[in-house]
């Protein structure tokens, strides 16, 4: 138990960091080999466009297709053959790529971008209108709608529906995971104490309710600690790994994409820097302190609500395999809540979102999705009020079932029986 906890605490951030950095690392790997492409250009007009660079080497040959194929049957350097049979202005399907393997998308996009761009310019030139190229360039539009949220005090904030969605869903999922994982841990702990028969020894020293609450609070603290460590360790690790691998990746890929952009449009773009600034301004539009505080409150409320019920289930059964019958009614609303959260994210002020953020069994998860979009204070107050009253209620109920259940051995418990225990 102890060992596995330590392992889990330290390995999970490694896993997360790996999930973040490994794709970046893989992305940096694939550009290392030079791609050798033969070109058979029957029109003889594209040699000046397809220039070799660090990644792609274009080799213009004048042979039949079959000859190239036979010559390079065993040549590992050979990547692909580009065959252009006709003027692409007239016949846009006149270019074909042959390869022994599946042609990768990047190569195909690269060549088709270059050729399309060239043909586009040729066509424009054919109109014989001075400055047409410039006019077309100017007429290009990239509409990016900025969303701005009005504050209470009339201040404008740059908002982002996408970012709100991401923040909401992440916090909802984390709360969902924690309730399921740590709720199950509470239940397993109670079952373990019962099956190992330690429980009666302990409750001759402490009250059953104290024992139950001790277990619930203890595991909540473990959960919060573990969560904090995950956040801290994951960010440290992914920063560290990112800075080791990162330099190469960022410079290469960014430079390359900029190069291509330059080639295409004839001027450098500042998308990378611009979007980062944009993201920063959007992030500052969210009140992270508020969201974090409500995250902790809803996490604790939801956890307390469910954990006490899980403890009651654990106390009523004789072994872990018997828990299913009673834990199903507990896991169903949690699973329902996560689906409600996904739908609520699309319409955070709709009736489903409103009701599910009030019902205590779903509110800790659904409200997290709504919060980044902004929720009226009175709704939060009602939702929290109901949640607090409910977890006091479930804890009280669970306490009654628990104190009878833990001393009941070798009896197949039914729902009717549980109802009876409630009224002792």
């Amino acid at each position: 138990m102890k060992k596995s906890f330590i392992i889990l605490t330290f390995l999970t951030p490694l896993l997360f960091a790996g999930m973040i950095t490994v794709p970046l690392w893989l992305a940096s790997l694939k550009d290392n080999t030079k791609k050798h492409i033969y070109v058979i250009d029957r029109t003889n007009q594209y040699q000046k466009v397809l220039k070799s660079n660090e990644t792609y080497e274009f080799d213009f040959v004048d042979k039949p297709v079959n000859a190239v194929r036979n010559d390079n049957a065993d040549n590992k350097d050979f990547t692909a053959l580009l065959l252009i049979t006709d003027d692409l202005r007239k016949n846009s399907k006149a270019a074909t790529i042959y390869s022994q393997q599946q042609v990768n998308l990047e190569l195909k996009t690269y060549i088709s971008d270059i050729l399309s761009n060239y043909v586009e310019q040729q066509k424009l030139a054919a109109y014989n209108i001075p400055n047409l190229k410039q006019m077309v360039e100017n007429s290009k539009a990239d509409i990016n709608i900025e969303t701005i949220k009005w504050n209470k005090d009339g201040k404008e904030e740059v908002g982002s529906a996408e970012l709100a969605l991401i923040i909401g869903m992440i916090s909802a999922f984390v709360i969902y995971m924690f309730i399921v994982i740590y709720g199950a841990q509470v239940m397993a702990g109670v079952v373990q104490e019962k099956t190992s028969r330690i429980v009666e020894v302990i409750i001759s020293s402490v009250k059953p309710f104290e024992l139950m609450m001790g277990k619930i609070i203890g595991i909540a603290l473990v959960g919060l600690t573990q969560f904090l460590m995950w956040v801290v360790l994951t960010s440290i690790l992914s920063m560290a790994v990112g800075s080791i691998l990162g330099h190469g990746i960022d410079l290469n890929t960014l430079q390359q994409s900029n190069q291509i952009n330059m080639n295409m449009h004839g001027m450098p773009t500042d998308t990378a820097q611009g979007s980062i600034q944009h993201i920063y301004s959007m992030l500052s539009g969210f009140d992270f302190l508020k969201i974090s505080i409500f995250f902790v409150i809803y996490f604790l409320g939801g956890y307390l609500l469910y954990a006490s019920l899980f403890a009651a289930v654990g106390s009523a059964v004789d072994s872990e395999t018997d828990t299913q019958q009673f834990s199903l009614p507990l896991t169903l609303p949690i699973v329902f809540a996560i689906y409600a959260a996904i739908y609520s994210a699309q319409n955070p002020d709709g009736p489903l979102a409103l009701w599910c953020s009030m019902i205590p069994f779903t509110s800790p998860i659904v409200m997290m999705v709504r919060l980044p979009y902004g929720v009226p204070a009175w709704q939060i107050a009602i939702s929290l009020g109901i949640l607090v009253l409910s977890f006091i209620g479930t804890t009280w109920m669970a306490g009654k079932i628990y104190r009878t259940g833990i001393l009941m051995y070798g009896k197949k418990v039914t729902w009717k029986e549980l109802w009876k225990w409630l009224r002792y």
């Binding site: 138990m1 373990q192 104490e193 330690i198 020894v201 302990i202 001393l407």
Partner: protein, 297 residues
């Protein structure tokens, strides 16, 4: 001096009466037996004494005071369904349980050292409980029960799960604890131990106490006027009924039952006239017989 008083305790579980107006008093520095068939209500009574369950009515007092947390701390309780955290180390766990009973860490360590040496189980300190056999775990449990030097010890079926050697060890320890001033209540099915250990008993059957008192008195009251006579020759008489007679190495062993209410001396006088009498002994019924006879429907 009375240590524990249970007065008119009633406990009802949905639709079934577990304890019906049960009262008993346990004198200080004695061993008290709680007997009864399975499901009679012994464990419920023990749990009420330990404040694990609350009675519907009635009262339990320790040293004349109503049970509170402070009073419960003076009890050492070994439940029938007993166990330990399997993944925890023996020493660590014993310390934890002792501290739960209000002992300081130092005191607990000192006491544990004493008991572990006494039972010669120091080598188990760093073992996990799951590595111990059932009997070994029971020893550890016994130690954790008595460690905080409680005034009152309650053992529910203490000898179940022990082999005869360890059961005997436990018996001796219980006697020693009594000699050192503790008061002990235990429930058992083993009537032999009751005769060996208990001064007083209560026999619980179907939620009621059906027999209560001093073991010697109870046995005397249940006397069936049966006597065992060892003599040179066979005996006969009108005042008694011959139950059985055997001869071994020239000695006759005869079991007789007195027919009248005359004194034992009168009976003996009649026998002495017939032959040489080696022994004349009243056969008191065992607790086993009394138990079966009392509980029989």
């Amino acid at each position: 001096m009375i240590l524990l008083e249970v007065e008119n305790v009633v406990k009802q579980f949905a639709g079934h009466l577990a304890l019906d107006n049960v009262s008993l008093t346990v004198p200080e520095n004695s061993i008290y037996g709680l007997l009864g068939p399975n499901g009679a209500g012994k464990t419920t009574l023990i749990r009420i004494i330990n404040c694990i369950t609350a009675p519907d009515s009635g009262e339990v007092r320790l040293n004349g005071k109503k049970m509170t947390t402070a009073e419960v701390q003076q009890i050492g309780y070994l439940p029938e369904e007993r166990g330990l955290y399997k993944k925890m180390k023996v020493g660590e766990q014993a310390l934890y349980l002792a501290q739960l009973k209000g002992m300081s860490r130092q005191d607990a360590l000192k006491a544990l050292k004493y008991w572990f040496e006494k039972f010669e189980i120091q080598a188990w300190w760093d073992k996990k409980v799951e590595e111990l056999s059932k009997g070994m775990a029971q020893k550890v449990q016994f130690i954790t029960t008595i460690l905080h030097n409680p005034k009152l010890l309650i053992f529910d079926e203490p000898f179940s799960g022990f082999d005869p050697v360890n059961a005997d060890l436990m018996k001796r320890e219980i006697l020693e604890l009594r000699n050192n001033g503790a008061t002990i209540i235990f429930s058992t099915h083993n009537m032999g131990t009751v005769e060996d250990l208990c001064e007083n008993i209560s026999l619980v059957n179907q939620a009621k106490i059906v027999l209560q008192g001093n073991v010697a008195e109870i046995r005397a009251n249940h006397a069936t006027k049966t006597f065992l006579v060892r003599s040179e020759n066979s005996i006969t008489g009108n005042n008694f009924e011959l139950l059985s007679q055997t001869e071994k190495d020239g000695i006759f062993e005869t079991k007789i039952k007195k027919m009248n209410t005359g004194s034992n001396n009168l009976l003996l006088k009649e026998l002495i006239q017939q032959t040489e009498i080696h022994t004349f002994e009243e056969l008191l019924p065992g607790m086993n017989d009394i138990f079966i006879e009392t509980v029989k429907p």
